[in-house]
Amino acid sequence: MFRNQYDTDVTTWSPAGRLFQVEYAMEAVKQGSAAIGLRSKTHVVLACVNKANSELSSHQKKIFKVDDHIGVAIAGLTADGRVLSRYMRSECINYNYTYESPLPVGRLVVQLADKAQVCTQRSWKRPYGVGLLVAGLDESGAHLYYNCPSGNYFEYQAFAIGSRSQAAKTYLERKFNNFTASSREDLIKDALIATRESLQGEKLRSSVCTIAVVGVGEPFHILDQETVQQLIDTFEIVREEETAPAEPEAAAEQDAATDQASGADQGGAGNQGGADQGGSPMDI
């Protein structure tokens, strides 16, 4: 995108019918570090890449619990994300106070979308520079939504946002047909693999990612570092075992993956073979 004479205000249309400020806000989402979400019939998993600015600082919080049945992962301007999370929490608390029942996710995302839309039609405001992956459970099952700065929202089986999210999306596109019937453990494993795809070469460790789960009978919570590291170790180990009996499928994928630098990633293809065999012992 290049600067042009229609991009100064959010209240200015371009002759092609575009609101450039809104599109620039969506760019901000693409610059943030990756956030990934996937859902099965009964569970939703959120994962995100946590990159600290420097070794000296802590990393930013990108996953927020909104209520026992709703959580959100953000990408983009994390400050905007924090503010929107506070709004979402407040809405859930107020709804529960009035109706003594949990706020349905579908309602919450609409309210959020409407709030975002307001900022696209006021000359004294700017759009929120954050994309939100809202994971939640309601009476009709598990849901995953993506809320844009534009005020649009979409429901997804699986999605990824932020920088290098295309790698994760490619993986998810290959696998999403199986997600509905996935078990909780397999869903988390797929989330971790998708996260690893976004890291593109860097070793997947629990210190660079955060995983959160919500499901039937399981309130939204962020998994602690130890659990995540154990899960990573489990499937990394399986991957090393599977590279020895090279399947034709795995061989084909390894050819495609030859340009990947780190050794940690070469087994990625082998793990696909392992996953398809269904032989990974995921004991949490």
Partner: protein, 223 residues
Amino acid sequence: MTKQHANWSPYDNNGGSCVAIAGSDYCVIAADTRMSTGYNILTRDYSKISHLAEKCVMASSGFQADVKALQKVLSARHLTYQHQHNKQMSCPAMAQLLSNTLYYKRFFPYYSFNVLGGLDSEGKGCVFTYDAVGSYERVGYSSQGSGSTLIMPFLDNQLKSPSPLLLPAQDAVTPLSEAEAVDLVKTVFASATERDIYTGDKVEIVILNAGGIHREFMDLRKD
């Protein structure tokens, strides 16, 4: 010309009694389960006790509609606290919140007489007693509600520490065990039930200690 008074009151008294006793590492909170209006009984099975936070339990007697509203407000505020601080509220923090919430409605009070019990940050039992507009104090034991005039003197007799001014000096009261405290609560309710028409049916006893929360019931006279 005498002032005209309202012929309708927004308040009602649903009666009942509440007690809380703090121990060295436990807290016992109890309330009867009778809900009345006037000389009638609305139900024999209504809980006046609310588990506000992990280590904090509140028992309230008075106007139960106001009590319910108060419990909901505190519950919502506690959720907000948890989101912001990533931990549960301590009992002393909840005590202050309750006081502030009550005073907020200083000019249209919650008709709710509360007793808050739990474990403080050191794990010791604590009891806070309130009036309807939020004046509160940390104490070792307390009672509120219709039977409190019968219960409180008895608790004073059994639990009050001897004055340090006495000669010859008397030992501080030996610490009460959890079982003794529960037994005392049962005795106290059985006695209050005899003479207070608004107290009876059942007593709900909640015990908070390091092991968590435990609830038991004891039948009382139903007349």
